[in-house]
């Protein structure tokens, strides 16, 4: 396993007996002074790669061509191992979300105001490998609206006054609203629930988490309280995933009368995510289903009444329909409330 098509390999090894003997006698691999030219240890490699090694290792074939197509030299000096140096060593530990993997909840940053873009970028964003276009593009792909989300979320205050200010000030956001804003504003004053009913689908794509505190037309909408906080918690749990998984999976929190149901899409929550769940948070599992469906299925199983849901990725049309069928109303691309429950 792991044996590749060696035609793709790029290492041209020129036998050179010098290093083989050195290696065999425990060469000081780590302390050699910089700049000291070591002969290529091809002979040791070729003997190791060409057949069973003296310590019983399996045979490896020497690469047939240069491992790096334009490798400049067949000799190796100490600088060749500089590539294994630690340009950003130590920075990885700065991301403390992973401190909680073993269950230390207190170690997980509770950055309620952290924009979802952080969840996407993961520790790499802070650690500085931003010069890698491949990784950069990977990390930015699935959540292209993260920046606008962050901007919108920051612009959005905790009250409807803030929301109104946001609407009046956010020209870009307004440009994305295809329907009649004055009409919505009227609803917002006279019938907030109707406002959300009508505006909900429209604001999908606006990317803002709309706080429902103060809308207060039903007990359930009051219970839904702050969708922003719910979203922040979803993002916090999502960030426990490794950076690749963060771009591939979704985490959802469904607030219910029995507690907050936490679900992961596809493979469900991983062990690390479960480890940071708090009292009142219930893990759900439904293999290969989307996070929203997983959470709603768990609520149904428990007989819980949904109040609100927040997810870490834009709610897909199928899940949006599922939410609406369950009495929910989308309030943003990633949140919904269940006002009639």
């Amino acid at each position: 396993m792991g044996q590749a098509d060696l035609s793709l390999g790029d290492g041209a090894l020129t036998p050179s007996p010098g290093l083989a003997a050195t290696l065999a006698h425990g060469m000081d691999f780590f302390d050699r002074p910089a700049g000291v030219v070591l002969p290529q240890f091809a002979s040791s490699l070729s003997s190791s790669l060409g057949g069973p090694s003296s310590d019983g290792n399996q045979a490896f074939q020497a690469p047939s061509s240069d491992q790096s197509a334009a490798a400049p030299s067949t000799t190796t000096n100490s600088r060749d191992y500089d590539r294994f140096s630690d340009p950003v060593a130590g920075q990885a530990l700065a991301m403390s979300a992973y401190d909680g993997f073993s269950g230390a909840v207190g170690n997980v940053p509770r950055s309620v105001s952290a924009p979802p873009s952080n969840a996407v970028a993961g520790p790499q964003a802070a650690s500085g490998p931003s010069d890698d276009p491949t990784w950069e593009s990977i990390l930015s792909q699935p959540n292209g609206d993260a920046a606008s989300y962050a901007t919108s979320a920051r612009a959005l205050g905790p009250s409807l006054n803030g929301f109104a200010d946001y609407l009046s000030a956010g020209a870009d956001a307004l440009a994305g609203i295809p329907r009649d804003i004055p009409g919505y504003a009227s609803d917002l004053v006279h019938d907030p629930l109707e406002f959300f009913r009508r505006a909900g689908p429209t604001f999908v794509g606006l990317g803002a988490s709309i706080p429902t505190a103060g809308v207060g037309t039903t007990a359930s909408s009051a219970a839904a309280t702050d969708l922003g906080a719910l979203s922040a918690r979803a993002n916090e749990i999502h960030r426990v995933l490794d950076s690749v998984a963060q771009t591939k999976r979704t985490t959802a929190i469904l607030r219910t009368d029995l507690g907050d149901i936490v679900a992961g899409g596809g493979r469900d929550l991983d062990v690390g995510q479960k480890a940071i769940l708090q009292a009142g948070e219930i893990a759900a599992s439904f293999r290969d289903a989307h996070a929203e469906a997983t959470a709603l299925a768990k609520a149904q199983q428990l007989g819980a009444i949904p109040r609100a849901i927040a997810v870490t990725r834009t709610i897909c049309p199928a899940c949006a329909k599922l939410i609406e069928d369950a009495g929910g109303i989308l309030t943003s691309a990633r949140t919904a409330i269940f006002p009639n429950k």
């Binding site: 396993m1 792991g2 390999g9 290492g11 090894l13 240890f41 991983d270």
Partner: protein, 223 residues
């Protein structure tokens, strides 16, 4: 002595087939401690640790792979890392290309993830560890080896039956325990290599050979 894997209960034994079988203490995946130990190693050792984690998953990936070309490209990427660890000059551009191929082999967001996903991701993290020197990248390769088995073992369990007790049984499963033990062994060998300034090539070859051998029974006895 390594402390990357905490013991969660005392050793005991049980009797089966008229034989007393000792049960070693259950190992638990403990990433902060893995990070601590990786942090004490030079980057080439961290890359070797990550590559071994990926290598152990490759046999199963081969079994489930539906696209031979994709498998070849991932296997080639992993070979490239091993070859460099053995001293073959490799340019960053080459590794970046391999990384790109690995990432494009991963399923789209919200698509079902199979065992191949973890093998590919661990390979990507091994490359990433080499390119960036970020300790976490190597640890993530180990996490995906663990995740691979965790999901392999939990997949057949119906959601309604997946209780905390059932999860504990999964975590104590011999396959997961064996993988955690292998990670522990790799870290131990690499720590010893660095401490004693031993023979790098020999250690890397031993690590890879052991990972290859373990790959044949990563998810159970060889078929």
């Amino acid at each position: 002595m390594l402390v990357a894997y905490s013991r969660v209960r005392e050793p005991r034994s049980f009797r089966t087939n008229n034989r007393q079988v000792p049960v070693v203490a259950m190992l638990k995946y403990d990433e902060p401690k893995i990070l601590d130990e990786l942090g004490a190693l030079p980057n080439f050792a961290r890359v070797a640790f990550a590559a071994a984690c990926a290598e152990r998953q490759m046999a199963d990936y081969a079994r489930v792979a539906t696209d031979l070309d994709t498998f070849k490209s991932v296997a080639s990427a992993l070979d490239c890392i091993w070859n460099e660890l053995l001293g073959v000059p490799t340019r960053d551009e080459t590794l970046t290309r391999h990384l790109s191929e690995c990432m494009s082999a991963l399923p789209q967001p919200e698509s079902p993830e199979g065992q191949d996903t973890d093998a590919i991701t661990s390979t990507a993290y091994a490359i990433r560890a080499r390119l960036t020197g970020v300790i976490q990248e190597a640890a993530w390769a180990a996490r995906h080896a663990f995740d691979n088995l965790y999901f392999y073992l939990t997949d057949p369990i119906p959601s309604k039956e997946f209780t905390p007790e059932a999860e504990q049984r999964v975590l104590a499963h011999p396959l997961i325990q064996a993988e955690l033990q292998r990670q522990r062994q790799d870290l131990s060998d690499l720590t010893e290599l660095v401490r004693d300034k031993g023979n790098v090539i020999s250690t890397i070859l031993r690590l890879r050979a052991r990972a290859n051998e373990a790959a044949q029974r990563f998810t159970g006895p060889p078929t």
